[in-house]
Symmetry: C2
Subunit: 356 residues, 2 copies
């Protein structure tokens, strides 16, 4: 496809990006099947517009793997299981592999028991929360995903010690004709990635994203290290982040609070990341099509609401990602020039065929 | 105990309040065992300081029951079940009875399957969310509770049609020596009850609680009918309210969105309230005491954080309710004079022995 200008590379077709990611991961010694599996999930992240969670993470993953911070031959295994639950030890493997296994386990068990909850420890960063919440959709199941984030940017409400991450929550609900309803949210007003983007662009943050150590609004993203993210709804978001951390971390014997390893600053220490996925089989509750039609109806009620002045459209959770996926599947995935250069340098370093 | 002044009645001992509630409920024809069961849960709400969800609701419940809006001889039954789930039809009985049955069913199933999810339809208002999330604590289980609220005060993000309720979420996590961690939150910045309290007191609301139909801050609680509650984190809180509604309402065949009956304005129509409770058996995940000790440790890390200027103490979710329960168990439950008069009038009307 070449480049449109020096600074704006042409979008990359998804299959080409996926093959590139797989080549890089194989070059750092992931087995071919695992490399392909991770590459597929990372590309899916880029397709839905989760730009901070797809190929953007590849250089970081490659460094961590080469530093032996991730185990490329993990023995991902069940530590315990019952009819409706399992606890998975990821053996410090790539988070994508651990979570795919966990989601598949949850779906298999939910098929029998109606509902299943699978917790994970010794995992790693696995990309956007919605990936794993969405896996059960294909089997007419609702999916939930909870995770302990890999860096603490949030103090308890009223505090200034950063003891919590922006612990995300995702829920995906099947529909009939509407795009699936997929909520994917951090428990802070802004995710930390958005702060980094503002800093890169030299922009100011709106009040409400961060506060400084005096509790005053912090709007200069270059000073982000001097402050903290603000949780949604104040003490409510703090409570949510804490509870998600207990459910996805502590319950599974994974890192939480002070144990959390900042994977941006430390590329060697095992993160012992905790995650959880829940699958709810619609068929256990009643006729599947009937449920899906009623969800469609609810979605249309929301979209059809009268609007505030200046609001052009009401969105359902996941609707914009769905649109992006359709667009990018056809038009390719846009990669900013600096990322493209990073990926080229990585390819050169690892002596693999570059992206372009 | 008498009254301390004409306007501030003395606090009422919990057992006395509970017996009074039971008398009223029997007088409107609830069977004695059911009346006692509901009275115990309503009193528990007052003990933990959920003042808008305990005896405060008794006159409203009594009116609805006398209007045949609630079935006093419900056949609360399982519509479907699998190893880890059940769907309960509450037959339009008192929500407390339906939810107690649902929570007990969830615990029983979780004991076998590790985790269980029980959904409910044809239920009614059941008091504070934390009551049912907390029931599994006694069996060393984590509890979750989701509900569709009984009045819509929230439009979709960007909209002005009130299609959603402040759908609450509660999660309770067992501890060793610390008070249990119990998050109980509406998905709006302020619950509607807080707006009503401000109006009663003639106070102004802070900006951020409500907006008017132009999207401007609404701070006069007497104008509450002209505006809407603001969801936590903007579109995130809208997404949460929607998802909770789908999980607790639509999945169970209960009311959601336009189907929601405003139980403050309509005291006759069946509400078809939807709720869900989840129980997670700690023993399935590992040694119970070890988990509880680690939760204690996390709680102490939060409380021990350095604090923002002016902050005296960092609270854990549920810690203040826990303190209130201890205090009110000994000192009694304070009831404002207007509520006390309402309860006296109700007793006279139903010819039962009054509270004092």
């Amino acid at each position: 496809m070449g480049t449109t200008t020096d600074d704006t590379p042409a979008p990359v077709p998804a299959e080409r990006l996926q093959r590139f990611i797989a080549r890089i991961l194989q070059a750092v010694d992931l087995p071919p099947a695992d490399a392909a599996s991770v590459a597929e999930l990372m590309t899916r992240a880029d397709l839905i517009g989760a730009d901070g969670h797809g190929v953007f993470r590849l250089p970081q993953y490659a460094r961590r793997i080469r530093n032996k911070g991730i185990n490329v031959r993990p023995n991902i295994r069940l530590v315990s299981e019952k009819a409706a639950m399992a606890l998975v030890d990821g053996d410090n493997g790539m988070g994508h592999l651990v979570m795919r296994f966990a989601a598949e386990t949850a779906m298999k068990k939910a098929k029998g028991a109606g509902v299943a909850w699978v917790g994970v420890r010794a995992s790693n960063h696995a990309g956007p929360a919605s990936l794993y919440a969405s896996m059960p959709l294909a089997q007419d199941m609702i999916g939930l995903y909870l995770a302990v984030g890999n860096a603490n940017h949030l103090p308890p409400w009223g505090g200034i010690d950063m003891l919590l991450s922006t612990n995300p929550l995702a829920v995906a609900v099947p529909t009939q004709d509407e795009p699936p309803i997929v909520l994917d949210m951090a428990t802070t007003v802004a995710a930390y990635g958005k702060v980094k983007t503002k800093a890169q662009r030299g922009e100011t943050m709106p009040e409400g994203w961060m506060i400084d150590r005096q509790g005053k609004p912090l709007t200069d993203p270059k000073r982000a290290d001097e402050g903290f993210l603000v949780p949604i709804g104040g003490y409510k978001g703090y409570g949510l982040a804490l509870i998600i951390g207990l459910l996805a971390g502590t319950l599974n014997g994974a890192a939480m609070a002070r144990e959390t390893v900042d994977f941006n600053k430390d590329e060697v220490t095992k993160t012992n990341t905790g995650q959880a996925v829940v699958a709810i089989d619609l068929a256990a509750f009643g006729p599947v099509d009937d449920f899906k039609r009623r969800v469609d109806d609810v979605a249309r009620q929301m979209r059809g609401s009268a609007r505030l002045p200046g609001v052009e459209r009401i969105w359902l959770p996941g609707e914009q990602s769905h649109g992006k996926r359709q667009h990018r599947s056809k038009q390719g995935i846009p990669l900013p020039a600096p990322l493209r250069r990073q990926l080229d340098a990585l390819a050169t370093e690892l002596k693999v065929e570059p992206l372009s």
